[in-house]
């Protein structure tokens, strides 16, 4: 443990600083609201000589991810960042990055996916990538955005994992909100992340490798199976990485965070910045004698089913908040939670609320409303609730 100082930073600035400290060999990025300040801060760091990363100011997000794939295949440590439509434009290459097993780390500043066009926060952008083969983290605040960017890099590059990682932070709420953030000293970050040691590199001309061959019905399936296995490895490697991070930072991470869950009868499950508001409401309800708590997921992919089960088994009710919809099906987080509870010896009451689409405010009273439904036994497993919606 060392002396560190707290700075007033936005989530975007915190992540740009994580990138400066990681000092990737290559960053390729294209500006999009609300990711823009990450690229702006980082470009300024480069212009001021604070980091000697080679910056590729690409002409689109599709090319950002394409260039980062090229750079990572060449053995470089390569990063990009994006939001919403930018992530959607990359979609094709997001899958390719994962299937090439390239350890790319990408901060994603969550924003509603068009249409209609909207620049504010929801999780529809990242949820569209949930089957892409990337590790997906969600953060509650700027500090977590910074920390999980560093943790994500070490996890991505671990020889047993070799997978790309998305670090999701809520657009504007985290990216543009100023909060106290503790940055680790530069040299400490450098020694934590170390050097990338690629298994194969395009620049190793003496040992030429073919990246991205045509893979038909005789091998494709086996390669996909290997990707599934790599995701399973995340559960073995992640605890080691967060333990190492805790040693230098004093901050403890896991796949999930349990907030006042010990004796909780009614548990809310959520992702991202809303968890901060939920914690406040939990505190208020606790003062009123209600046994409520929060299960926050830091990790959404791979889905930490065992930890979720450990914390949700035996509860009276579970209420799940989703900041995105899956049209014609259950909301993404709810579907996962409900599925995880299939094997539960006792079936808690369970209910789903969609909230905050397109940046719609989520207020303590909305969260209280959902908790009250849980406490009153008003949850319907097959019903769909909405918070903060005019109907």
């Amino acid at each position: 443990m060392v002396e560190t100082k707290k700075l007033a930073l936005t989530g975007a600035e915190a992540v740009a600083n994580a990138m400066r400290q990681i000092a990737p060999d290559v960053v390729a990025a294209y500006p999009i609201t609300p990711q823009t300040p990450i690229v702006e801060y980082f470009s300024k760091f480069v212009a001021d000589g604070l980091v000697d990363t080679e910056l590729i100011p690409v002409e689109s997000e599709h090319s950002a991810m394409s260039a980062v794939v090229g750079a990572a295949a060449a053995g470089a440590r390569a990063m990009t960042a994006t939001s919403a439509n930018g992530l959607a434009l990359m979609h094709e290459i997001v899958y390719i990055a994962a299937s090439l097993r390239l350890p790319i780390v990408m901060p994603v500043v969550n924003r509603a996916l068009s249409g209609p066009i909207n620049i504010h926060c929801d999780h529809s952008d990242t949820m569209a990538e949930r089957d892409s083969g990337w590790v997906q983290f969600f953060v509650e605040n700027a500090q977590e955005a910074y920390d999980l960017t560093l943790i994500g890099l070490k996890l991505a590059e671990h020889p047993d994992v070799q997978l790309p990682v998305m670090v999701n932070q809520d657009g504007f709420i985290i990216s543009h909100g100023v909060e106290p953030v503790e940055l680790l000293p530069d040299d400490m970050v450098r020694s934590f992340v170390g050097e990338r040691e690629p298994v194969y590199s395009l620049l190793d001309v003496e040992n030429p490798v073919t990246f991205g061959p045509l893979d038909l019905y005789d091998y494709y399936f086996e390669h996909k199976r290997q990707q599934i296995a790599a995701m399973e490895k995340v559960f073995e490697v992640f605890p080691k990485v967060v333990e190492e991070f805790e040693k230098i930072s004093g901050r403890r991470y896991a796949c999930v965070e349990a907030y006042r869950l010990d004796d909780a009868e009614h548990v809310m499950v959520a992702l991202g910045s809303t968890c901060g508001t939920i914690k406040d409401v939990v505190d208020e309800l606790r003062e009123e004698g209600k046994k409520v708590g929060l299960l926050k997921l830091w990790m959404f992919r791979p889905f930490p089913k065992e930890q979720v089960q450990r914390y949700l088994y035996g509860r009276k009710s579970v209420v799940v908040l989703d900041r995105s919809a899956s049209f014609g099906a259950e909301a993404p987080l709810y579907a996962e939670i409900k599925s995880a509870l299939y094997e539960s010896p006792t079936k808690p009451l369970i209910g789903s609320y969609i909230y905050g689409l397109g940046g719609r405010e989520i207020l303590p009273r909305h969260i209280r409303q959902a908790f009250e439904a849980a406490i009153n036994g008003d949850l319907l497993a097959d019903g769909q609730g909405y918070l903060g919606l005019r109907e």
Binding site: D25, V26, A28, D52, T53, E54, I56, P57, V58, E59, S60, H62, S63, A64, S66, A67, V68, V69, G70, A71, A72, A73, A74, G75, A76, A78, E92, I93, I96, E195, L202, L203, D204, V205, P208, V209, T210, F211, G212, P213, L214, D215, L216, Y219
Partner: protein, 325 residues
């Protein structure tokens, strides 16, 4: 320094040294592997190591069917529309790792991207423009077979008028694709500080000299190589060379280069052949030629290539010794 064929023949007596080996599954007579081989030989002859990037297409799918690869140089295929962006990432990684002392090697590496006309004129145009604008040090080689041949002969922005394709077929009513092909070299040459040229497999010395020039050019370079698809041009397997020679002689594919805005025609045939000769040699124009309105399309094409040639001569004269920068 002009490329010496005899010297190359000695140097690459062992074909495995070229970088793309036999055993790939391209059609017999396809010009795409010739396009790749000649470029690789020149690069290696000049003392460069080579890393190649490929856009999805015939050359890519037929040379890398897992678990086999015909490439003995480092190779990356990412997707269809992004080979220029991908290679720009590889090239940037090279500079970054060299700068940081993480890549210790004396011999310089050159980066060559290969794309077909679909991946270049159409879906990959934006990525190509971006990479050229950013000034990456790479060579982009277009093997232009004038259609989506890998997927079975669909119309592209490079397909010439009247050429039979499955998506702009010559029908009872319509005479096939009505539009002229894009002038891709002019599009690339419109960027700053770029070397852009046409070439073709039927004129190998001209092509290889341009590869040399392109590789030694400081900045992005682009060579559009007319590269017949014997299958869908409906020509004999041994006709790729003769048909492309005819393309040059008929002004269909003028050989020229634009270096920082300076035009130079690299081959001026003493006499020209009519465009009809070029069309008649290819089955892809047979349906057009049998239509009553064939002459209308042919004379439109003849007029177009004549005017383009005159314009090239004028540009050569006007830009002589006047580089854009």
């Amino acid at each position: 320094m002009a490329v010496n064929l005899k010297q190359l023949a000695v140097e690459f007596e062992d074909p495995n040294k070229i970088g793309i080996t036999s055993g790939h599954r391209l059609c017999p007579g396809c010009a795409a592997p010739m396009t790749a081989k000649m470029a690789l030989m020149v690069a290696k002859h000049l003392g460069y190591d080579v890393v190649v990037g490929l856009a999805t297409g015939c050359l890519e799918v037929s040379t890398t069917i897992f678990p086999y690869s015909a490439w003995s140089v480092p190779y990356i295929h990412n997707a269809f529309e992004n080979v220029a962006a991908t290679i720009s990432g590889v090239e940037t990684a090279y500079r970054a790792l060299k700068k940081r002392g993480k890549l210790k090697r004396e011999k310089p590496i050159k980066f060559i991207a290969f794309g077909g006309d679909g991946g270049t004129y159409d879906i990959g145009l934006q990525a190509l423009s971006g990479a050229v604008e950013r000034g990456h040090d790479f060579l982009y080689i277009l093997y232009d077979n004038e259609g989506y041949m890998n997927t079975g002969n669909q119309r592209s922005g490079s397909t010439p008028p009247g050429s039979y394709t499955t998506t702009a077929p010559v029908g009872k009513k319509l005479p096939g694709k009505p539009q002229l092909k894009k002038n891709i070299v002019e599009i690339v040459a419109a960027h700053e500080n770029v070397y852009a040229a046409t070439a073709t497999v039927g004129e190998p010395i001209d092509y290889m000299n341009k590869v040399e020039k392109a590789l030694n050019f400081e900045g992005p370079s682009f060579i559009a190589v007319l590269s017949p698809c014997v299958r869908f041009w409906r020509i004999p397997n041994d006709a790729a060379v003769s048909i492309t020679k005819l393309a040059v002689q008929s002004k269909y594919w003028p050989l020229y280069e634009v270096e920082k805005g300076v035009y130079r025609i690299t081959k001026k045939p003493r006499s020209f052949k009519p465009i009809r000769d070029f069309l008649e040699q290819q089955g892809r124009f047979r349906a057009l030629l049998s239509r009553p309105d064939a002459d209308k399309v042919i004379s439109m094409l003849q007029d177009y290539v004549d005017k383009r040639w005159e314009r090239l001569l004028a540009l050569e004269e006007a830009t002589k010794d006047k580089p854009a920068r």
